[in-house]
Amino acid sequence: MRKLVIIPAYNESGSIVRAVTDIQEHAPEFDYIVVDDCSTDNTWQICREHGYPVLHLPINLGIGGAVQSGYLYALRGGYDVAVQMDGDGQHNARYLNEMARVLQEEQLDMVIGSRFIEKEGFQSSGMRRLGIRIFTVLIKLVTGKTITDATSGMRMCNRDVIECFAKSYPKDYPEPESVVTILKKRKRVRELPVVMNAREAGVSSISPRKSVYFMLKVSLAILLAGIRRK
């Protein structure tokens, strides 16, 4: 059973080492690959100095294209399990083993780490939570399934879903839309409670100014993915 952690990183020089060390300590049986989305800081240099395996994108593709590169790497490297974990220190590697165990034992296709099952740790701002709740309602509407934390960037999937994502993955704000696509393919998805941290360094990709656009675009994407014929 070969398992890979995909760490998308854009200008994460301040936190990438801690993120990787976290994986090395708490999930040593996972391989990992950093995807440097053409950072303008020295994220790439830091990875090379530490000898981390890294995919360096020659142009900035945004989170969707970066993560998809990781899935392509997983596909070609023959990995059975791939898990996404942000490079900004928000996610804790100590959950990876538990997620992998549940994925395997319950024969699931995807396991998502959710902040909102046990409501512990960093819960994001009120506005964001409202947005995420709207996604939950929309996803329930188009798939009938409940996903409490559709924007979670901490998700683990099996070979089947790796293949799906390597073939096609949404470009920007990809998480909710890709969950809907997977659910629509009748894959089995389950959420596990995790605790996330507030980010240690760097800036979130979603500024307040962009959040209106974000809500509109993701809502529309969920609906379109929901009514799309396979």
Binding site: L55, H56, L57, P58, L61, G65, S69, L72, Y73
Partner: protein, 119 residues
């Protein structure tokens, strides 16, 4: 339409036509993308040389003023062209993404092999 205006328009059209053909010859513009423009220019040339055609057409379409028909057709052409360009952009974005990912994967593979070669 006065004869003078007709001549001015012919001169402009010929200049533009010449410029486009030059650009195609110098490979600054692919023939594929020049074709719709060449088509439009030739239509304009015909309309300018034989203004009767425009009147017959607008009559047939039930448009009182020929100029309105020209505006309508021109606007329609530009809308279609914009849409086609959006399609191209979308497709190219996708192709560029694939290229970038492939480059990143190949580079990683190369560095890995280099490292293994030293050991």
């Amino acid at each position: 339409m006065t004869a003078r205006l007709q001549i001015i328009i012919v001169v402009i059209i010929v200049l533009v036509l010449g410029k486009i053909i030059r650009m195609v010859q110098k490979k600054r513009l692919a023939l594929k993308y020049a074709l719709p423009w060449l088509g439009v220019i030739i239509c304009l040339l015909i309309a300018d040389l034989f203004p009767g055609i425009v009147e017959v057409m607008s009559d047939w379409m039930g448009i009182d003023l020929p100029i309105n028909m020209l505006m309508f057709l021109g606007f329609g052409f530009i809308l279609i062209l914009c849409f086609v360009l959006t399609l191209y952009t979308s497709k190219q974005t996708d192709e560029i993404r694939q290229l970038a990912q492939e480059v990143a994967l190949l580079r990683e593979e190369l560095e890995r092999e280099k490292k293994n070669g030293i050991h």
